[in-house]
Structures are given as C-alpha cells and as structure tokens.
C-alpha cells in the first residue's frame, strides 16, 4: 500500500461560485475550514463572556487566560501604545491557534499549511506596519533603517542590510508557520504509513508496528506544542514588527 503524504493538503472544490477572468472562484475545503475556525472561536469566546461572573467558571477562565496572555505579550513587546493593536493581534493569534488545533484532528484540513493563507496574513501585518509607521512618524519612519552609532564608512552597507532584512520579514513570517505545519503533518503521515506497511507484513509486522504507533502518539503531543508555539510566535513577531512602526529608530 502506497502512502501519499501530500494528499492531505489538496484543495477540493465544493461549489464553483463564479469566474474572475480566467480564474475560477469556488467554495473549497479551505474556505469551509476557515468558516469552521471562525465559528468555533467566536462560539467559544462569545459563549465564555455572556455570563460574566466575578469568580470565573471553566469556560470564562479559558477566555480570560487567552486575553491576559495576548495582552501581556503585546504590552511587553510593543509597549502600552501598542495596545491599540491588541484586537488585531488577538484575532491573528486566535485564528492561527484554532487553525493549527483543528488541523490536528485526523481527516481534517489544516488551513495554515496553505502558503497563500499565511502569506496573506503576513502581508497584512507588513502593510499595516509600513502604513502605520509612515502615517504616525512621517519620514522619520526611515530612521528604522539607520542604526545610531555606526561608523560612516560602513553605514551604506548596514542600511542595505537593514532594508533587505525588513523586506524579507513577510517571507520568513509566512514561511515559518507554513513550513512548520506542512513538515509536521507530513511527518505524522509518514509515520502513520509505517504502521500500515508493517501491520500488513504478517504477525511479526504487527509487533513491529507498535513502535511507529508509539512514535505517532508522541508526535501528536509534539505537534500540539508546535501548534500553540507557532501561533504564539506569529503573534509575538507581529507585536515586534508593530513596535518598529510605533517606536522607529533603534
């Protein structure tokens, strides 16, 4: 039996909607899962905050822990001025976290393993940083590329490197999340394939198949950690980039 580890990332068209030029716009499994993510996240957070008690219940404390966690991240890395971006960062964090967690359910689809989704999110952050930076600081925003206290001789090279590293931010921001989810899910699939291959090889194979089975259980635990960690990394990088727009100049 051949196991195809890439099959799980295939986009399936559910309803073709309309054509835009030569592109077909349709309701795909990716869109369906994004609706599910938004639905689950909204239901959890709205449901948790309808009955606001002084002593929080189980559901309410989940929402409160989420809120406090992201609020502390924003405050510590973008300052109190950064708190005006709190709704944006919180939305990104919750969306990526739920996309990663729902993607871990077997036979479901991982939205964040599609490069187009993560690039869209990263470019959104990038343009908000550039737009807000120029709107708030004017041309002083360009001080970001000129570190203080650098000898005149090597300044042009430093500025070139700073500009290059600024421009490569959306690339690394999006590819990190995408590649982590892609690699994790491929690894899970490959190890799950080992179980099937060994299990179909007779009675001795069944004993051998327990080893990759244990491995898959451990990998699921690791992926759960990665799912949370990558959502946190996405949020904290967003905060750090926003901090550059709020306080340019090193």
């Amino acid at each position: 039996m051949k196991v195809d580890p890439i099959h799980q990332f295939e986009i399936q068209n559910f309803w073709p909607l309309f054509n835009l030029g030569s592109h077909q716009i349709s309701f795909t499994n990716s869109a369906l899962y994004m609706f599910i993510i938004v639905g689950v996240a909204s239901a959890l957070l709205i449901g948790a905050t309808t009955r606001r008690a002084v002593v929080p219940g189980r559901l309410q404390s989940i929402a409160e822990i989420c809120y406090e966690f992201v609020a502390n991240t924003v405050r510590s890395s973008a300052g109190t001025e950064g708190m005006k971006f709190f709704p944006f960062v919180f939305t990104l964090f919750v969306f990526v976290l739920f996309a990663n967690l729902i993607g871990l359910i077997p036979y479901s689809f991982t939205v964040t393993s599609q490069l187009i989704i993560t690039v869209t999110l990263a470019l959104l952050v990038f343009f908000i940083v550039v737009g807000y930076g120029f709107w708030k600081n004017g041309l002083h925003f360009l001080n970001l590329f000129v570190p203080k206290g650098v000898p005149k001789l090597i300044l042009p090279a430093i500025v070139a490197i700073e500009v290059l590293s600024f421009l490569s931010r959306p690339v690394s921001h999006s590819v990190r999340l995408f590649a982590n989810m892609l690699a994790g899910h491929i690894t899970l699939q490959v190890f799950a394939g080992f179980i099937i291959m060994l299990g179909s090889a007779g009675i001795l194979g069944l004993f051998g198949a327990t080893l990759p089975f244990i491995m898959v259980v451990l990998l699921i635990a690791l992926e759960l950690l990665v799912a949370f960690l990558q959502a946190y990394v996405f949020a904290i990088l967003t905060c750090i980039y926003l901090n550059d727009a709020i306080h340019p100049g090193h």
């Binding site: 690394s172 590649a179 690699a183 491929i186 904290i236």
Partner: protein, 75 residues
C-alpha cells in the same frame, strides 16, 4: 546522472542546512536554561525573548527544509 536521482540527492543535501538551525536552537535553549538556573526569578521575564530568538533561528532551518520539499514535490 538521472535527473530524478539528482533531484533526490539535492533534496538530501538541502536538508544539511537544518543541522545548523539545530545547533542554533540548542545554543539558545541551553543558554536560557543555564541562565534560568542561575537566576530563576528573572527567567519568566525573558520567555518572550527566548521564543523570539528561537523563531528567528528556526526560520533559517525551515528555509532549507522548504528547498528540500520544493525539490521533492514542487518542481
């Protein structure tokens, strides 16, 4: 050489870059742990910096993995 064989060899070579990221992530977490054992009360405040350094370092390894995946499945 057979182009398919060259593709697979290239993917394997591209993955060597992940070793460097492994070394880097190890240095970051090792130094964090060493510092946290010396001054446990200050450790919690540096958790954000730890994750940030980890993310920046990991990205470079991820890039080489991406090249390998592109060679295997994309191109």
């Amino acid at each position: 050489m057979d182009p398919t064989a060259a593709k697979y060899i290239g993917a394997g070579i591209a993955c060597i870059g992940m070793g460097g990221a492994g070394v880097g992530v190890g240095i970051i977490f090792g130094n964090y742990l060493a510092a946290a054992l010396r001054n446990p009360s200050a450790a919690q405040g540096q958790f954000g910096n730890l994750i940030f350094g980890f993310a920046i370092t990991e990205a470079l390894g991820i890039f080489s993995l991406l090249i390998a995946l592109l060679l295997l499945f994309g191109l």
